[in-house]
């Protein structure tokens, strides 16, 4: 969800949320499940569902990066700009460790960008104190570029897709056969 949000790929984001709501298969880690519930509710602008998800989130203790995401979600819901900035800072400062310490993969945090975009749409005042010019792993130039983008699909054609997946990747239409198997086997 956050990758799609970070790319402003609205179709992929909404498909991911639809799939999340339909599938019974949830991650073993309940912290992740609660976060996905919260992000889905934020995207749908469903304040009650956000509140329910936050209650679930607050029961869980997790490592620093996930704690940062939780703080950001809660601050988004309460439009607490200072807490939002603190949560983002926690996310960004622990991102490289979250990426298994990989220096290159930890250079830019797309999840922080994605959650910022979701939060800004849900509660614009929540993001006001976060410094969007800060250094890596926050990509300030990317953020600035993205602010001029309405929908990434306006900008690109999926490159050289094999026929096999062209339909699935382009339209992201749910696959009834896959859903049927998921639900009956």
């Amino acid at each position: 969800m956050l990758m799609a949000s970070a790319a402003k790929d609205h179709l992929a984001l909404d498909r991911a949320i639809l799939l999340w709501s339909e599938t019974n298969e949830k991650p073993n880690n309940r912290a992740y499940a609660a976060i996905c519930d919260a992000l889905s509710a934020i995207r749908r602008n469903d304040t009650e569902a956000v509140s329910v998800a936050i209650t679930e989130i607050s029961k869980r203790k997790s490592y620093a990066y996930i704690t940062g995401i939780n703080l950001v979600i809660q601050a988004t819901h309460t439009s607490d700009a200072a807490a939002f900035a603190a949560g983002m800072k926690k996310m960004l400062s622990s991102f490289r460790r979250y990426m298994f310490g990989e220096e290159f993969d930890g250079l830019i945090d797309p999840f922080a960008i994605g959650i910022y975009e979701l939060a800004k749409a849900y509660a614009p005042s929540a993001v006001e104190e976060f410094d969007t010019t800060r250094r890596l792993p926050w990509d300030a130039e990317y953020h600035q570029w993205l602010s001029g983008v309405e929908d990434v699909q306006d900008l690109y054609e999926l490159p050289e897709l094999p026929n096999l997946i062209e339909e699935a990747m382009t339209n992201t239409n749910p696959m009834p056969w896959a859903k049927q198997i998921r639900e009956t086997w």
Partner: protein, 125 residues
């Protein structure tokens, strides 16, 4: 983005060790993985050996296209969402172009979506 000496080194190191797959390479990597799709026995070799409630191998009930999609979306070494990040970061820095990162993230998100569509019974183990 201004590349510090450290960033330049990381970029160089990434190029040396993993190179920069262009999109056609990405698809080729995945297509190679999915090349087994025509043969249900090969498909089973991926570890996809779940059975339906009647004891039939799940894959035997898929069409060739469905098997290919499952293979495409679930083989571990395909272009996963995590690889999409490093692919996008590399291209974003190398070309100094934010759109490259957006494109990789978008493709990564769609592949992740495709993978999650697939029934868990077919996920490689």
């Amino acid at each position: 983005m201004k590349l510090t000496p450290r960033l330049q080194w990381l970029l160089y190191e990434q190029w040396e060790t993993k190179s920069d797959p262009v999109w056609s390479d990405v698809w080729q990597i995945i297509a190679d993985q999915a090349a087994y799709r025509a043969d249900p026995n090969e498909f089973a070799d991926f570890g996809v050996t779940s059975f339906d409630p009647l004891g039939r191998p799940c894959y035997s009930q898929l069409t060739e296209e469905q098997r290919a999609l499952v293979t495409f979306a679930t083989v571990p070494s395909s272009f996963t969402d995590m690889r999409a990040i490093s692919h996008g970061v590399f291209r974003r820095l190398h070309f100094d172009d934010p759109a490259q990162l957006a494109l990789s993230l978008s493709v990564g998100a769609r592949i992740a979506w495709l993978g999650h569509q697939m029934p868990w019974q077919f996920r490689s183990r």
